[in-house]
Amino acid sequence: MILAVAWRNIWRNKTRSLVILIAICLGLASGIFYMAFYKGMVVQRINTAIKTEASHIQVHHKEYLNNPDKKFVISNTDSAVQIIRSNEHVKAISSRVIINTMAQSAKTGAGVKITGINPEEEKQVTNLSTKLIEGTYFEKVKRNPIVIGEELANKLNVKLKSKVVVTLQDMQGNLTGAAFKVEGIFRTSNTAFDEASVFVRKSDISRIMQLDNQASHEIAILLDKNENLASTNTSLTEELSTLDIKTWREIMPEVSLVESSFGITMFVFIGIILLALLFGIINTMLMAVLERKKELGMLMAVGLNKTRVFTMILLETVMLSLVGGLFGIALGWLLTFYFGYQGIDLGTWSTAYESMGFDTLVYTQLPFYVSMQIALMVIITGIIAAIYPALKALKLKPAEAIRIDL
């Protein structure tokens, strides 16, 4: 019956209760929606990192990542690829030749990272071929085709069929170069990537560098799903012990940090919202207790002990918080669901976001377990908010509280 009393007491002053309920609802809904927005951005960044830039796992010569010199090659690429392919979680593999050098157009030059690829292999591992905004993906140009990013194309002032000259040192240390014809121009959500990356056929760049056909600087691996990352990494590390095996988390630690900080960011953000709401709840409950002094005094006089008084106020506070919390969670989810379908166009801030590799059209999303965590945080907030009003009630002396001034 104390439960019934606590529940009904919430609705004694409907206006006051509604004000605090709406505050809790809107506060939490905003918090949840913001977290869903943040999560959507994080997930999209990770997908971009995997699908466009790093893949799930990369294999290199042991020295390569510390010192990306062209001499640090995987000498027997086919043999390594065979071993990798035998892993059940490996979906696709692409071997690459990589060199950092200068690219020149008629107007100007820029430092670039040339990635020599087997186009058909690369198509299975990355989605670069789907990012073309002009031209084709190694289909038409027969001799030395090159695919470059839109930012670089603008910088070099080149367009389709333009010539781009690449100057580099071959494996013997001799300065050499070659002219490439722009076959395709791509745009990803990462402008930094678009400005610095060019793609050529592996056979072309290997020939220019006088690199052995079997040699490559990098093997990129796409898995069936991200959840198998750790186990596959462990397995390949054992099987390819002479090579360096790294996951995308190790190759792109800044992206990994964004992902791993989601949980703590959510707790802190929602915690701040609930802390602000805490004082509103305390105020509401304190008013409720003080205006019911005589009623509480009567109850204590007839035999309601301190534990029951405390429980009654605690239940009332927790239920008030939970009702607002549940509506807030529901509203937050509704918004998340809607914008998860529609997307949010960041429009005005697109340049800034793209420079950091984030998509400008964000689809909100949030794991379901987050709702449970937030509901728990709401309950804890209610419990904390109840303490002061409940202690105030316990200090009442029944004889004084029920006295009527005649």
């Binding site: 019956m1 009623e295 029920i402």
Partner: protein, 229 residues
Amino acid sequence: MNVIEVKDLKKIYNSTEVKVNALNGIDLTIEKGEFTAIVGPSGSGKTTFLNMLGGLDSPTSGDINIGGTEIGKLSSSKLIDFRLQNIGFVFQAYNLIPVLTALENVEFIMQMQGVDKKQRQQRAKDLLIQVGLGDRINSRPSKLSGGQQQRVAVARALASKPTFVLADEPTANLDSKSTENLLSMMEELNKQEEITFIFSTHDQRVVNKAHRVITLEDGKIISDDRKNG
């Protein structure tokens, strides 16, 4: 059989500026089935005495024995439990929990005592019928008149099967007709069930109905009149 025995009861309030002797040695016994009014002017110690009897305050010295228990020496938590089990209260106002129905208000005490649901619902219904509110059991206090609310309060006070019922100015907020009805009902209960009622009152109508009138002044009993019949 003595329901209440009070021996040399004293209460002194020590404030920072002045010492107040609210009760100056009260000796009193009340038997089962009494219908007693305690009267006295403001400052007579009536409220203090009632607080002592009701276990809402502790004496400075002296004994209060209720149903064989020395309540003056009980801790505050034990006093709360003692009140729940032994004393029924009817106050001048704020008797009822506004968000509960008449039935639930009467049940509330029994639930605190741990009575099972079926039993307490039945007893609550029976008590409300007994006080003439059988047709209003599902009404909340806001839907009841002042007199009806006090009847519910009486039913609630009786629900716990108390040693006695302490009624503090129960008629103060009622019109004459409601007062008459309430007092008649309580008198009937007193006769039929031998329930002990102790009233604190300024109301002459209550004094007229009482079988015993104890008058306090300056913290002492100055008269103790029993009426015949």
